[in-house]
Amino acid sequence: MSISRAKDMRLPLMNLVRLKGTPILEQLHLEERLLRASTDNWCIVNDGTNVPTIVMGLSGKPSQLLEVGPVIKDRIPVIKRFTGGGTVIVDKSTLFVSLICNKGDVPSVQPYPRSVMAWSGSLYGEVFEGVDGFQLRENDYVFGDRKFGGNAQSIIRNRWIHHTSFLWDYNVRNMAYLKLPSKVPQYRLERDHTEFVCRMKDYIERSDFVEKTVKAVGNQFAMKEVNLEDIDSYAKGEHVKSTRLLTVEELQEAMSGTAQSA
C-alpha cells in the first residue's frame, strides 16, 4: 500500500463535486439537499453561474437590501437561500466553494458559527499562503481591508455547511442593484461596494485557487470525485426546502412597502 493511500485511510471521506456554470439556484438546491438528506461530507466547487443573480440570506428583506425598482426592470433573479448572512450578486465570473461536514468528522470544530469559521479561515489560510494580506476579518474573507468572498453557514443537528462566493471578478454595474446594508462590519467604515470589495483575479490564478482549495481540503479528508448524475444514490428521501426564487409579485410588494415578509 502506498503512503498516500495509507494516510487517506485514516482520514474521513469527502465527496468532491465539480460543476461549471451551474445556475446558482440549482447549486443551492443541491447543497440544501446534501446537507439535510445525506450523511456524507461534501465539497462542491462551481466555476461560475449562468446569469447574474442576487442571493439573499434567510432573513433578508428586499426592500432593505436591494434597489428593487431596477432589479424588477432588469429582471434580475432574486433568491432567498437557506443559510444566514448577507446579500451578494453573482455571475459567470464568481467562484463558489461549499463545504458540508459531519460534526463528528471535524472534531476540533463545535457546531457553532464562530468555530466553523475559525476552521474555514484556517483552511483558506493554506490556500492563500504567500498571498499578501489574506485573513478572515470580522467574518469576511479579505485581502487587507477589501472583501473578496462572501460566506454563510447553516448548522443542523449533527452537520453544517459553510459556503462561499468568491469575487473572482465583478461587473461594477451589478453592484448598483445592492443597497448599503444597515449592519456592516466595523472595518468597512462607510465605503460603498466598489471601495469595499476587490477582485480575486488580482491576487491568484483561477485554476490555482481551485486546485489549492481541493488540496487544502484533501489535507483533512480523503477526497473522492462524484459526478452530479450519481447524487441520487447519496441523498434520498424528503427534506425541508427553504431555498427559493422570489416572485415578481413579492418584489413588487417589497417596493410598494406592502410586503409582510419575503
Binding site: G57, L58, S59, F82, T83, G84, G85, G86, P107, S108, V109, Q110, P111, Y112, P113, R114, S115, V116, M117, A118, N139, N151, A152, Q153, S154, I155, I156, R157, W160, K183, V240
Partner: protein, 166 residues
C-alpha cells in the same frame, strides 16, 4: 471562539466560578463553573434547549450556553400557533454570525403561544435567554418525555465536557 473556549476550559481547571456563598444574590440561578448560567427548575436537552413545565404548559427556549456560543442573534424563525412540535425535531431557526442554526424541540406537543417580541427584538435571546427570550409555549402531548431531559447539574456538566472536548 477558540479564545472563549480556551478561557472556559481554563476557568474550569482553575475552579474559577461564582462561589456558593454568592448564590443568595441570584437565588434562581446556579452559576456553573463555565461562564454560562444554568437556571434551576428547568430541564435541558443535549441540543441546548430548555423547558419550563408549569401545569399543562411547557415554555421552551435556548440556554445561556447556546446563546453565548451562537453570538448575536439577528433573526428568529418560529412556528405558528396550533402547529405541532415533535421531540428531537427541528421547530425553527435562529440566525447569528451569518449562520442559521436549527432549534430542536425537547418535547412533543401543540404550540399555544409564540413570543412575538422576538420578531423585532431577536437580541432578547442573548440578553435574557431564560426569561424575555423564551420562544414558544407548548401543550405537551406526552409529559413523560420531560423525564429523559437533563436537570441543571447534569446539564452544567454536559456543557463543561462539551467545551473541554474542543
Amino acid at each position: 471562539m477558540a479564545l472563549r473556549m480556551w478561557a472556559s476550559s481554563t476557568a474550569n481547571a482553575l475552579k474559577l466560578s461564582s462561589s456558593a456563598s454568592k448564590s443568595h444574590l441570584l437565588p434562581a440561578f446556579s452559576i456553573s463553573r463555565c461562564f454560562s448560567s444554568v437556571l434551576e427548575g428547568l430541564k435541558y436537552a443535549n441540543s441546548h434547549e430548555w423547558v419550563k413545565h408549569e401545569g399543562s404548559v411547557a415554555t421552551i427556549g435556548i440556554s445561556d450556553h447556546a446563546q453565548d456560543h451562537l453570538g448575536e442573534v439577528v433573526f428568529v424563525e418560529l412556528p405558528e400557533e396550533k402547529n405541532s412540535v415533535s421531540k428531537e425535531k427541528n421547530f425553527g431557526a435562529v440566525e447569528s454570525v451569518k449562520a442559521t442554526s436549527e432549534i430542536i424541540s425537547p418535547i412533543s406537543g401543540e404550540v399555544i403561544e409564540v413570543n412575538t417580541k422576538l420578531a423585532d427584538s431577536p437580541g432578547l435571546i442573548n440578553s435574557s435567554p431564560y426569561e424575555e427570550g423564551w420562544m414558544i409555549k407548548v401543550k405537551p402531548s406526552n409529559p413523560a418525555e420531560l423525564e429523559s431531559l437533563m436537570g441543571p447539574k447534569e446539564y452544567t456538566k454536559f456543557c463543561e465536557e462539551e467545551d473541554a472536548a474542543h
